[in-house]
């Protein structure tokens, strides 16, 4: 179909996932952290689609595509909830730095 082999897509997806995970670990702004998580989810989507391309039958191919749609939907719902929480925190604290949000500890 294409000249690019599946392994290239998968490697790219793995790198994206790793970059996302690293971002979660080093970023301080929850919105950026969340964007990193989105990156991880999109890496997963890429993986799904790559595998879907190489499925032998239609049923399995469509399944992969549908999964991607599900993931996009779930990600959208997460954005809604996540931004809501972040907005409330901003109202209360005037800051959303995750490191300053650490009352609960020990």
């Amino acid at each position: 179909m294409t000249a690019v082999p599946a392994s290239a897509y998968l490697t790219l997806a793995a790198f994206l996932f790793a970059i996302g995970a690293a971002g979660v670990l080093i970023k301080r702004n929850p919105i950026v952290i969340f964007m990193c998580i989105e990156l991880m989810l999109n890496a997963v989507n890429l993986t799904f689609l790559t595998f879907a391309l190489h499925q032998p039958n239609l049923q399995a191919q469509v399944a992969g595509h549908v999964f991607v749609l599900f993931v996009i939907g779930v990600a959208a719902a997460e954005v809604a909830v996540g931004l809501g929480i972040i907005v409330v925190i901003f109202r209360l604290r005037e800051t959303i730095d995750v490191d300053s949000v650490s009352l609960l500890r020990e």
């Binding site: 999964f67 996540g82 995750v98 609960l104």
Partner: protein
């Protein structure tokens, strides 16, 4: 081009979940038409929905259905655990109103969110299709994020919600990546196929590696939800920061749901035992030690219970590692008992809302004077959590312990016993402090609200009843596990 088949559907398998969703939608609409703060009808509709769902669920006892293009199923494990979820949700619904009012959080959305979360948790258990499990997990989690942050005026609550949300989403990404790799390996995300694909996969080939990585990644996601160490770190912060009713709910329900999935997944992946057994072994050991030892030094009762829930997750993981009939029976038994104990214990803590939601162990001192019944109930719940006979907690631990011995996991069994002793120490310390004199002059006696009395009575009767006659539940659990092990499914689809 091949035509896609429209699958034939057996509605009854998903009827309980659908009933809960229906009730949630109804409550959502109803809330618009009610005067502000008037929540009793919402609670009643919710309870009715849960009751109805429970009835439908009970009717499914004994069936082994797979339907909806093999994405939904119903078996005895689903019936048992879904009933535990339904009962926990019902109990929380019952006593939540009083707490919300006392903390001035009269948000009507509490009720539909709780019901959606329940539907999500039930969905997780009612499928072997991991994508459906993921959807259920997300429905549960998203609702819980909002419930955690329900106390909008409090930084602690919002902080807990943010942490839970970010870490939960992070864990979901791992889980999802695991599913994607599984899809790549076998072209399907059904757990029931895993063992066949593992056996068929060529050593050294891609498929093999994909399966290995996928299982490990999925365990990360589920370990997070089940509060297993080292993925437990959100637990104390979130349990403490969340409104106590939400804590009661998530502590019971998400543990049942997560372990339900873990039980299915790991027994489906039996041929990969070599792989996940050492992982789960280490996780179980770590969870028992970290949970129980750190719980010892906690001053806040909610945090203490949070760490202890990590310990309990460790006990349950011991049951999964041992993977024999007795230990899996123990896992199911323990989950049911644990749901009752946790809901009851956090329920009693929610009574502290009127005292400014102070849940430190010191604030609980002398509770026996102010609320004798609540203190008595708490004492029994603590005994059960500590695993002291004649309570359900004892039998749960007993089956797990025996199962571990049968499964040759002697070290885990010993650690289980030892950490239970440590656990008994902090549970009993809390119990004693309830009956110790109050530090200050004792406050006026409160009467425990009637719904809470009902709820606690249900918990106590259930726990002591199971403690005296564990047979029926143990027997049902055993049957459920045996049927799953036999793997005989009645597949309903129109191909």
């Amino acid at each position: 081009m091949e035509a896609l088949n429209i699958p034939q559907v057996e509605w009854s398998a998903l009827l309980p979940v659908l009933t809960v969703v229906g009730a949630a939608l109804l409550v959502l609409i109803l809330e618009l038409f009610l005067p502000r703060g008037q929540h009793t009808p919402l609670m009643l509709v919710g309870l009715l929905g849960l009751g109805l769902a429970g009835y439908f669920q009970l009717a499914l006892w004994g069936a082994s259905l797979v339907t909806w293009a093999e994405t939904a199923l119903s078996d005895n494990i689903a019936v048992l655990l879904n009933l535990a979820i339904l009962v926990s949700s019902g109990l929380v619904l019952l006593f939540a109103d009083d707490y919300l009012r006392a903390r001035n959080m009269r948000y009507g959305e509490f009720y539909p969110l709780l019901l959606f979360a329940t539907a999500g948790a039930m969905l997780m258990i009612s499928s072997t299709n991991l994508m459906v499990v993921f959807l259920g997990l997300e429905v549960l989690s998203l609702s819980l994020y909002v419930l955690t942050g329900l106390a909008r005026a409090e930084v602690r609550s919002e902080e807990a919600a943010l942490k839970y949300f970010l870490l939960g989403a992070f864990a979901s990404a791992f889980f999802l990546y695991g599913i994607a790799l599984l899809y790549g390996a076998q072209g399907s995300v059904d757990m029931r196929v895993i063992s066949a694909s593992w056996v068929a996969s060529m050593p050294g080939k891609m498929t093999n590696a994909l399966l290995v990585a996928s299982l490990a990644l999925m365990l990360v996601g589920l370990g997070f939800k089940a509060a297993l160490a080292p993925f437990h770190m959100w637990t104390p912060d979130v349990y403490q920061g969340a409104p106590t009713v939400a804590t009661a709910y998530m502590a019971a329900v998400s543990k049942v749901a997560a372990f339900g999935v873990l039980l299915r997944l790991l027994s489906a992946a039996m041929p990969m035992l070599d792989l996940w057994s050492p992982i789960m072994w280490a996780i179980a050991l770590l969870s028992m030690l970290v949970g129980n030892l750190v719980a010892l030094i906690q001053r806040d009762a909610k945090r203490m219970l949070a760490y202890s829930s990590v310990g309990h997750a460790g006990y349950l993981a011991v049951g999964l590692v041992s993977m024999n009939m007795t230990s899996l029976t123990g896992v199911l038994f323990y989950l049911v008992a644990y749901a009752l104990m946790t809901v009851g214990a956090f329920g009693v803590l929610s009574l502290m809302a009127r005292a400014g939601d102070a849940t430190t162990v010191d604030a609980l001192r002398g509770l026996a004077r102010r609320q004798p019944f609540a203190a008595f109930a708490m004492a029994i719940l603590m005994l059960s959590l500590a695993g002291i006979p004649p309570t359900a907690g004892f039998w749960g631990k007993w089956y797990l312990f025996l199962g571990a011995l049968e499964g040759g996991q002697t070290l885990l069994a010993i650690v289980l016993a030892l950490t239970s002793v440590v656990g008994a120490a902090y549970y009993l310390r809390l119990t004693f402090s309830l009956y110790a004199d109050a530090l200050e002059a004792p406050a006026a006696r409160w009467s425990v609200p009637a719904p809470m009395v009902v709820c606690l009575l249900i918990c106590l009767i259930g726990l002591i009843g199971l403690g005296i006659a564990p047979r029926p539940l143990a027997e049902s659990s055993r049957q459920a596990v045996e049927r799953m092990a036999n793997g005989e499914w009645q597949v309903v689809s129109g191909e």
